[in-house]
Structures are given as structure tokens and as C-alpha cells.
């Protein structure tokens, strides 16, 4: 049950994008069409789950064991950067079809603050191994959900006559604000 609550919390009530403001850049920039948003979401979920699993091990068995926690940020960002590279090479070699679909989004994930944020939150909340893996996967699902919803709304917005100063960024942020309001309706789903 505990694990289920972690998952629901990170997908709905404490969504990474709409509650913690993590991964806003791809959220505002890429989400123009549904398919692209979905591809980006899947690729990020994949990297996030792996990041959670690997950084948990690094944090527990290297950083804590040798008392070098001040290396946290340097080692986490190295893990993420090399992980993204690794995933890219693996997909290119063994699953070329999937690579074709996800390829262009992969390098962008390194600078997605949601991935590093995930590792930092995981350490801060002292999750155990299974909890971390669920947390990482859930964060990815929540990110995908927000991205896909946003893509849908922006598709509709293209048809509308928006006041000039609001075109582009401002209207997107306004929509994000309304989405955040709507997601507040989920609070209470998870007992705190």
C-alpha cells in the first residue's frame, strides 16, 4: 500500500511538472504535437527509472559507505549524462526502430532538471531501493501525463485568436497555471 501511495502521489498530487516545477523546459518547449510529447515522455520515463535505480546504489554503496557525500551532485550528473549516452547507443544497435522514434529527444534529457531532481528528492526522502524504483517510474509517468495533456491543449489553442502579448510563452504558462489548479483537486487522494 505504501508503494502504491508513493506512485499515486508522484503521478497526480505531487506531479513533478505541475507541483515541483521540474522539467518545465521540455514542457513549455517541445509539447506542440501529441506524438512528439508522448515519445519524449516515454524516453524520459525510461531514463528516470534507470537513474533512480543506479543513483540509489551509488549513493548507498559508494557515497555513504566512504563518507564522500559532497560528491553527490558531480557523481549524479555524470551518471545521468552517461546513462543517456548508453541508452542512446543501446537503442541504436539493438532496437533501431525505437531509436528512430525517440532518438532526437534523448540528448535533451541530460539537461532535464526533472531527472536530477528525482535523484535529489530520492536521497532527501531516504527511500529504500524498491521505493526509489517506483518513485522514478512514477515521476516519469507523471511527466508524460503532463506533457501529453499540454500538447492536447496547445493543439486546440492554435485555432484561437490570442491577444498579441500573450502569444507564445505567456499563454502556455497561463494554461500550466490552470492545469496546476486542476491537479490541486487530486490533493487528499494520498494520506499524509
Amino acid at each position: 500500500m505504501e508503494l502504491f501511495f508513493i506512485f499515486v502521489a508522484i503521478v497526480l498530487t505531487q506531479n513533478f511538472v505541475l507541483h515541483y516545477f521540474l522539467g518545465i523546459c521540455p514542457f513549455l518547449g517541445v509539447s506542440d504535437e501529441m506524438e512528439g510529447a508522448f515519445g519524449m515522455g516515454i524516453a524520459t520515463t525510461f531514463v528516470m527509472t534507470l537513474t533512480a535505480i543506479i543513483t540509489w546504489n551509488i549513493n548507498t554503496f559508494i557515497l555513504k559507505a566512504f563518507n564522500v557525500e559532497f560528491l553527490e551532485y558531480v557523481s549524479f550528473i555524470l551518471v545521468i549524462a552517461s546513462l543517456v549516452q548508453l541508452v542512446e547507443m543501446f537503442l541504436k544497435k539493438y532496437l533501431p526502430e525505437l531509436y528512430e522514434t525517440l532518438g532526437i529527444y534523448l540528448p535533451l534529457i541530460t539537461t532535464n532538471c526533472a531527472v536530477l531532481g528525482l535523484a535529489l528528492f530520492m536521497v532527501l526522502r531516504e527511500y529504500n531501493f524498491v521505493e526509489s524504483a517506483i518513485f522514478g517510474f512514477g515521476a516519469g509517468v507523471g511527466f508524460t501525463l503532463a506533457l501529453v495533456i499540454m500538447a492536447g491543449i496547445r493543439g486546440e489553442l492554435n485555432e484561437e485568436d490570442i491577444p498579441k502579448p500573450f502569444r507564445g510563452t505567456a499563454i502556455t504558462l497561463l494554461v500550466a497555471g490552470l492545469l496546476a489548479l486542476a491537479f490541486m483537486g487530486f490533493s487528499g487522494l494520498v494520506p499524509t
Binding site: F21, N112, G117, L120, A170, I171, A180
Partner: protein
């Protein structure tokens, strides 16, 4: 020379015009003081990593440049985090994980990739400082607006009278998105009419 500095503050403002570094912008601007500390910390990392990268620009191989930049940036972030923890622990705990998240602030990597890694040290200093000041400006404005409408104060000083009922939405995520949206629109309107 002076143009390198000024462009970051208004014409190429990283937040209002380039829409970069959104995570810290939205997350920590619940009050003026939080916004200001975040802006200063980011500027410090931006300028010092810019200087390091500009100085090393001929030594860093092109293929591994992004990874090298990330290592340099995250080292300086570690320095800031330790300094904050030692000297201003309350602010450090309020900023929480958003302080280490300076590592992935796209303003920093963007500046290093587009400017510092190609330009001499003097120009880099001015450019990075200008961008940093532009970022501080944006955070301070957003922080003040949100604090004002949340509880009628700016930087802790009472501005609106005691009649003002606090508006909790302003310190919640929805308030952050909506206030930034209105500020971006205002900024566009202002620069249009120039």
C-alpha cells in the same frame, strides 16, 4: 563592451525573453529574499564556471565538452551549497533541492555552450555577469509580486494595510505559473511599444 553586459538585463533577459531556467524561477520565488538568494547563487555559479570554461576553452576536446562543462558547473554548485549550509542555513533549507538543481539550470549550460567556450575571458565575464543580473532582476520582480499578493509585504516590510487578507494561491504552484505568465505578457507589451 558595455553592450555585452546590458543585453542580458533587458533585451535578452534570460527569464522574460529567452524563457530559460524556469524551474528555479517558479519554485523559489515565494518571497523577495528567496528569489534574491537564488539569483545570487546562480550568478556566482554562472560567472565562475564561465571564467573557468573560457580559460580552458582551448584544452577541452570538442567531443566531451558538454560532460566537461557539467563537471565544472556541478563543482561550483557544490561550493555554493556548502557555503549556504554553513552561513545561511535557514535559506539553504528553504531552497531545499532547488539549490543543487542549479546544475541543470539551462541558462548556465546555454551561456557556456553559446558564449564562454568561444570567447576570451574579459568578454565572458561581462556577458555572464549581465545574464546573472538579468536573472536576479527577474527573480526579484517575481518574488516581490508574489509576496505582495500573498500577504501584503515586500521583503518582510508591510506594504498593504492590515485589511489585506492573505491569498494562499500566490505561494502555490498555480499562482507561480499565473503570475509569471502575466509578467511575461507585460514584458512583451513593454518591449513592443519601445
Amino acid at each position: 563592451m558595455i553592450r555585452e553586459f546590458v543585453k542580458g538585463i533587458w533585451k535578452e533577459n534570460p527569464v522574460f525573453v529567452q524563457v530559460l531556467g524556469m524551474c528555479p524561477t517558479l519554485a523559489v520565488t515565494t518571497s523577495l529574499i528567496n528569489g534574491l538568494s537564488m539569483g545570487l547563487a546562480t550568478t556566482f555559479v554562472l560567472v565562475s564556471s564561465g571564467l573557468a570554461i573560457s580559460a580552458l576553452r582551448k584544452l577541452i576536446p570538442d567531443q566531451v565538452r558538454i560532460a566537461s562543462f557539467m563537471i565544472i558547473i556541478s563543482s561550483f554548485v557544490t561550493v555554493v551549497k556548502l557555503l549556504f549550509e554553513a552561513h545561511i542555513p535557514e535559506i539553504s533549507s528553504q531552497l531545499g533541492p532547488y539549490l543543487p538543481l542549479i546544475v541543470t539550470n539551462c541558462i548556465i549550460l546555454g551561456r557556456q555552450e553559446a558564449f564562454s567556450s568561444k570567447q576570451p575571458i574579459g568578454k565572458t565575464l561581462l556577458d555572464n555577469l549581465g545574464m546573472g543580473v538579468g536573472f536576479i532582476f527577474a527573480l526579484v520582480v517575481l518574488g516581490s509580486v508574489r509576496e505582495l499578493f500573498y500577504q501584503g509585504t515586500i521583503g518582510g516590510a508591510q506594504v498593504l494595510g492590515t485589511w489585506y487578507k492573505s491569498m494562499i494561491i500566490m505561494v502555490q504552484p498555480a499562482g507561480a505559473f499565473i503570475s509569471l505568465s502575466l509578467l511575461v505578457a507585460l514584458f512583451q507589451r513593454l518591449s513592443e511599444s519601445e
